[in-house]
């Protein structure tokens, strides 16, 4: 497969209560989306350690998605507010280190937003495809 055709790989950290349920809803309603995403279920978006995110990038993920309940709707009241704060900073910092901030997304996806989940994956896949592999040389160097 040529580089251009290669399907980007997205690691998605989804909170159990909203976004994971939203992704389930996309399934239940048979809303198809690209096969680029692989989901890791976490109880809350606040559980996502930025070190997980960088690790995913380093192991070859082209993009990382963190998704949680909308602010105010967190199953644990406040988890996603901390997530937002943390990743406002992390997104910029990743970018500062040379990991294009378009590769990282945090999205609020409720349990009823199956279509939004599918759309997020579609958008992200398209954007990542345009951005191309993150750092082909670096990824290969690590893979060897």
């Amino acid at each position: 497969m040529s580089v251009a055709e290669r399907e980007p790989k997205i690691v998605g950290f989804l909170c159990n209560w909203c976004s994971y349920a939203g992704a389930d809803l996309a399934g239940t309603s048979r809303t198809s989306y690209p096969t680029s995403v692989r989901v890791i279920r976490v109880p809350c978006s606040g559980r996502v350690n930025p070190q997980f995110v960088l690790r995913a990038f380093q192991l070859g993920a082209d993009g990382v998605l963190v998704a949680g309940c909308h602010p105010g709707d967190c199953h644990y009241s406040t988890g996603n507010y901390f997530t937002r704060r943390r990743f406002l900073l992390v997104k910029r910092f990743l970018d500062y280190l040379g990991i294009d901030q378009r590769r990282f997304r945090l999205r609020w996806i409720s349990a009823s937003e199956g279509p939004k989940f599918a759309e997020t994956i579609r958008e992200m896949t398209e954007e990542l495809r345009q951005l191309g592999p993150r750092d082909a040389a670096a990824v290969e160097a690590h893979a060897e």
């Binding site: 992704a23 989901v39 279920r41 644990y76 009241s77």
Partner: protein
């Protein structure tokens, strides 16, 4: 040694038609630790679960991966299945290859690699699974009910009737709440106090219920089964033990001021009984309006006339500390202040009143003895305009939601008006009439058909005085024309809103509230009376606008939840909670403020350093408070705080497996 069994579910053909499960099985079998891979048509069925159980025994499996539908669907099912053959239920992981694979990637060529990845990731996580056990805490079998309206009364009665002690805290001098202010109730037109009063009395007399009126909860700490409340008993200036409720004091008290219970439509004394049926049927001295306190310290008439010597000017606020196992919050609602509508007279015109004021005017025990005298001149109104949705469903100036009860009580008001003043005519401006509920539509129709209430669909744009009457200008949207009605009295169905101090109450008690100040239920459908703080339940309109039957039903439900809790001697908590590695913890306390449940406290540990003992502080998680969100585990830089079930090791392994 880890022996992982992987079970691939066809889900009929839901999965098997879209994913090449043979290939998934083949690749999965090559993974480290995987010793058994099996497919089955319906794993969640009894024979399917039996397949898993059998394989666990036959292949000595100690980790199980189920590749099937979403864990949100069947995690419990399979945990139970695994647990039933002696394997710890938390040594099971689910790979979601239906909702997040076969249903969204129906093409086998593209979906199969996804399924392979998801199964591999679940295996990687399962390998890092450790057995988890719940912990247990004792339960203080006493309930605290906050708020003495019908919701609180009902909850207290139900809990007490089940044999448990209840403390009912009401901040007003009497229980009864809003319902006591109502005249009749829809759709049956029962007299409100006739059905409420017996319950108030019952609550006052039940030996298991302790009424604390004129009291407020100052703070609540602890956790489910083990709350500690500080309750402030406001100085009532009346010794309740001595007072007989004879009435001499309030009869003799020379000072009158507008009475709260009658919304200022009538007067009460400085020492007063809010209403005749008050429970406890004993007065309170309002120091803000009492001459003894406010002027010269001389008056003391009440004290002089009180034979039992119950008046106590020196009384101080008192703090009670009590332990409870559960809390029911039933703090009720307020009405929206229609003063914010300038076009309706900005609350300045005495004859533009709220619906609750109308209740007091129409009530036989009200300031007008049930005669509907309009406030400005005491005249009996002939033409009365009722305006619905005042504040409700008004995103611009009011609140966006429907207050739910106004349609019905306005119909009731129209009926009551006609009954009291047969010559009168009522006009009702409405947006729509919402009469969903048993006998509600019929009731509304009675108001229009039998009592001749004239319903006009449309909003009122202006109210202005003309002579001694009011002109109500609106639009009839059905006819598409402007209407003007001259009225003697205008009654506004103002929105039901949260208590102004609801956010403070929520913060004090430790649960969440929405942007309107209504308390948030743990789940809008499946946990409508629970809060997100275990052990605290909601009843009545503090959670959202409700009519009396809904309120009573919810109060009963909240009571049932409390009783359900008290029926156990110990509480089993979810095992997926945070855990501290004491050796690593530096005691920096960073995790503490981040925990939404205040589940983290500090403890001292001593350890050997060289030949001596050294004490230091480390974090400690209370497993009964922890809900397992994991926020602390991310805040903890050293990794000393970990979340069982979604541990650092597990998620790390998942990331690695996923990116392989």
């Amino acid at each position: 040694m880890k022996r992982v069994g992987v079970f691939l579910c066809w889900c009929g053909s839901n999965i098997s038609s879209a994913v090449d499960l043979d290939q998934v099985a083949e690749q999965t079998a090559l993974l480290p630790h995987v010793v058994h891979v099996e497919q089955y048509k319906y794993l969640c069925s009894d024979p399917g679960q039996e397949t898993v159980r059998k394989a666990i025994k036959e292949h000595a499996l100690n980790r199980v991966v189920i590749a099937a539908c979403s864990p949100r669907m069947h995690e419990r099912t399979f945990r139970r299945a695994v647990g039933s053959v002696g394997l710890n239920p938390h040594l099971m992981e689910i790979a979601n290859i239906r909702e997040q694979c076969s249903w969204v990637h129906p093409d086998k060529v593209t979906s199969t690699p996804v399924a392979v990845d998801l199964v591999r990731t679940a295996v990687a996580k399962a390998v890092k699974d450790i057995p988890l056990e719940p912990s247990y805490v004792g339960i203080e079998k006493r309930a605290l009910v906050v708020g003495g309206g019908i919701a609180g009364i009902q909850a207290a009665l139900d809990i007490a009737d089940s044999g448990y002690e209840v403390v009912l805290v009401e901040r007003e001098p009497t229980i009864g709440g809003r319902m006591a202010q109502l005249d009749k109730t829809f759709p049956t037109l029962d007299c409100s106090s006739c059905i409420l009063t017996p319950k108030m009395v019952e609550a006052g007399q039940d030996p298991r219920i302790r009424l604390l009126t004129y009291a407020e909860v100052e703070s609540l700490s602890g956790y489910i089964g083990n709350f500690e409340a500080r309750i402030r008993m406001k100085a009532r200036s009346v010794d309740l033990d001595r007072c007989t409720g004879c009435g001499d004091c309030w009869n003799k008290c020379p000072y009158r001021s507008p009475g709260e219970f009658d919304l200022g439509l009538g007067k009460r004394k400085a020492i007063y009984l809010p209403f005749p049926q008050a429970v406890p049927n004993k007065p309170v001295l309002d120091r803000a309006t009492c001459a003894y306190f406010q002027k010269d310290g001389k008056c003391q008439v009440c004290k002089k006339v009180c034979a039992p010597g119950a008046i106590d000017f020196e009384q101080q606020d008192e703090i009670l500390e009590e332990r409870f196992g559960a809390v029911v919050v039933a703090t009720g609602f307020d009405l929206w202040d229609h003063g914010r509508y300038g076009e309706y007279g900005a609350g300045q015109h005495p004859d533009v009143i709220s619906s609750l004021e109308f209740e007091r005017l129409v009530s036989a025990s009200g300031p007008t003895d049930g005669k509907i005298k309009r406030p400005s001149d005491g005249k009996l109104p002939e033409r009365v305009v009722f305006i619905q949705c005042v504040g409700s469903r008004d995103e611009a100036k009011g609140v966006p939601y429907c207050s739910k009860v106004c349609c019905m009580y306005t119909a009731k008001h129209a009926i009551l008006l006609k009954e009291k003043i047969p010559s009168s005519q009522s006009y009702v401006f409405y947006i729509d009439v919402r009469a969903a509920g048993k006998n509600y539509e019929e009731f509304y129709r009675r108001a229009t058909v039998e009592y001749g209430a004239q319903y006009i669909r449309g909003r009122v744009s202006r109210i202005y005085p003309r002579g001694d009457s009011l002109v109500v200008v609106g639009e009839d949207t059905l006819l598409g024309q402007k209407v003007e009605v001259e009225a003697d009295l205008v009654v506004l169905a103002t929105a039901v809103v949260s208590r102004s101090d609801a956010p403070q109450v929520a913060q004090k008690l430790g649960f969440s509230y929405d942007q309107h100040g209504f308390f948030t239920e743990a789940h809008p459908k499946l946990a409508p009376v629970e809060t997100n703080t275990a052990g605290i339940f909601l009843a009545g309109a503090c959670q959202g606008p409700k009519d009396i039957p809904d309120t009573v039903a919810q109060a009963g439900a909240a009571a049932a939840k409390v009783v359900r809790l008290f029926a156990k001697d110990q509480l089993e908590t979810e095992p997926t909670v945070a855990r501290v590695d004491r050796a690593r913890c530096a005691g920096c306390e960073w995790c503490r403020p981040i925990c939404p449940y205040k589940a983290i406290e500090m403890e001292a540990v001593t350890e050997r350093v060289g030949s001596g003992q050294v004490a230091r502080r480390v974090a400690k998680v209370n497993p009964s408070l922890c809900h397992g969100c994991g926020a602390c585990s991310v805040a903890c830089r050293s990794g000393a705080m970990n979340l069982l079930g979604f541990s650092n090791e597990q998620v790390w392994a998942e990331v690695e497996a996923l990116c392989l």
